[in-house]
């Protein structure tokens, strides 16, 4: 598995966000995407998640140009990717329903109808994978709670768990710890490393430089209209090739 954006051009209206930029995510690695607010971190993750078609360039999964493949194949690729959004948006349902959603849509229609019927009759059978995923973020005991009644931080962890529940090959995380306290940030970072060790490729957009240092193997620095520097985490932080990288990391950059 390798997911890659190659030489992508993208923008909204007349303003280009990317002017030919590339990024790849390989199995078992964590790539952190850092950069100032509004630079396009979320946009890049949406392109990688096959949400938006880039205006130019390609997004490739295992070398296949996804946007030139059939819609069926694109759906199949999409189902190998887990994406957690910056704005948490759980369904107005139980935590269990949220965590199981990805598994549910992968089932055949007869199976889904049967499950719905059983649920209607009050016989919910918690999918093991979904509960396991909730366990990794410490929320297994909340399965039967209403998602609407969760705290912001809990909701964010459920959003992570439901992306993990269907065993994706790639995880794309958009500031997944922005609402979390230090302890739960550590829980989530552990879960990221666990995912990585199980062979999942992870891309994580973050504003927290220390988090990038803690979890990432590689760091991509977004500035202006693309990635200005990408490399091993240590190199980027301790000995960046681009002076703007150093200024951004030190918080000196004025933009």
């Amino acid at each position: 598995m390798t997911l890659a954006a190659r030489d992508v051009h993208h923008g909204y209206g007349d303003d280009p966000v990317f002017d030919g930029t590339s990024l790849s995510v390989s199995p078992g690695e964590v790539v952190a995407i850092i950069g100032p607010s509004g630079v396009g971190k979320s946009t890049l993750l949406r392109l990688l998640a096959l949400f938006d078609r880039p205006d130019g360039g390609t997004v490739e999964y295992d070398g296949e140009d996804v946007w030139n493949a059939s819609e069926r194949r694109r759906l199949a690729y999409r189902r190998r990717i887990g994406m957690v959004f910056q704005e948490t948006s759980l369904f107005d349902a139980s935590v269990r329903r949220n965590a199981e959603y990805g598994l549910r849509v992968r089932k055949s229609w007869p199976d889904r109808l049967r499950d719905e019927l059983r649920g209607f009759l009050g016989r919910t059978n918690g999918t093991v994978d979904a509960v396991e995923a909730l366990e990794t973020v410490g929320l297994a005991e909340k399965v039967d709670q209403d998602a609407a009644s969760l705290s912001g931080g809990e909701a964010q962890r459920v959003a992570f768990a439901r992306a993990l529940a269907y065993d994706p090959e790639v995880l794309l995380l958009d500031e997944p710890t922005s609402d979390l306290d230090p302890r739960n940030t550590a829980v989530l970072e552990d879960a990221v490393l666990q995912a990585k060790n199980s062979g999942i490729g992870v891309a994580i957009a973050t504003h927290d430089m220390h988090q990038a240092e803690r979890v990432a193997d590689r760091v991509a620095v977004l500035l202006g209209t693309g990635i200005i520097e990408i490399g091993e985490t240590e190199t980027v932080f301790d000995d960046p090739a681009d002076d703007r990288t150093r200024k951004f990391i030190d918080g000196e950059l004025v933009y």
Binding site: A49, F51, L75, R78, R79, I81, G82, M83, F85, E87, T88, S89, L90, F91, D92, A93, S94, R97, Y101, G102, V105, R106, E116, L117, R118, G119, F120, L121, G122, T124, D146, A159, R162, A163, Y166
Partner: protein
């Protein structure tokens, strides 16, 4: 008086109707309104979803056309439907003049803008991020639509109830296309609760009119309570 009606009499003092007659009126009212609302919901939901989630030129115009349709004069709808089902009209070959089915057509026309308009508002208020999440987790477009309907379920229930309320409590168009007919056997062919009330009132029988009115109100209440319960139970969605 039949045996059945004598059971009811103590409750309503002097019950002025044959039980079978009353039952047939209620049956026609419910048949027309429920079928019209069911068909209308089936049409309205896809329209609401399509209009809610796509950007196109004239969307604002279309939305205001739908909203105008919510308050469209029912007598006018009745006239148009009567013409449509008459011999010269496009539906003339179906022979629907003064039938319950013609009333279904006119109630369908009346209820659809209401159900579409209210569901459209409900569907549009579902956060984009919720739809994105369904898509991101591997949902197809159908899955995203289903999630949206579930998220908007209270608003959609309101829409259906509003449509039902309009259909069952309306007089003008059912009178025109149905004709308020009672068959030779003394049971209603196209007489509904509303047209019966209108008739009783015109003939000065206010008490009977009031009684029929009370039955109508109870019917609406029962259907509302049922739909609200259905929404609460939310089909194992929790």
């Amino acid at each position: 008086m039949t045996v059945e009606s004598s059971l009811v009499t103590p409750l309503l003092l002097e019950f002025p109707f044959e039980w079978t007659y009353l039952r047939s009126i209620v049956r026609v009212s419910l048949y027309v309104s429920l079928v019209a609302v069911a068909l209308s919901t089936l049409c309205s939901l896809p329209i609401a979803l399509a209009v809610g989630f796509t950007e196109f030129r004239g969307k604002t115009l279309l939305t205001s056309v739908i909203n105008t349709g919510m308050g469209f004069p029912s007598v006018v709808v009745g006239l148009v439907v009567l013409f449509a089902v008459s011999n010269q009209g496009p539906l003339g070959s179906f022979d629907l003049v003064f039938t319950a089915e013609a009333m279904i057509v006119s109630q369908f026309v009346l209820a659809t803008p209401v159900i579409t308009g209210v569901s459209l508002a409900a569907v549009s208020s579902v956060e984009r991020t919720v739809r994105d999440a369904a898509f991101a987790m591997g949902g197809t477009r159908v899955d995203v639509a289903l999630v949206t309907i579930k998220e908007a379920r209270y608003g959609i229930a309101t829409a259906v109830l509003a449509g039902f309320g309009r259909a069952i409590s309306e007089v003008g168009s059912v009178l025109i296309v149905g004709g308020n007919i009672v068959g030779p056997d003394g049971t209603s062919k196209t007489r509904t609760l509303t047209t019966a009330i209108q008739l009783e009132a015109r003939q000065g029988r206010f008490e009977t009119a009031m009684m029929l009115g009370a039955i109508l109100v109870v019917l609406v209440l029962v259907v509302n309570a049922f739909v609200v319960r259905l929404g609460r139970g939310d089909g194992g969605y929790r």
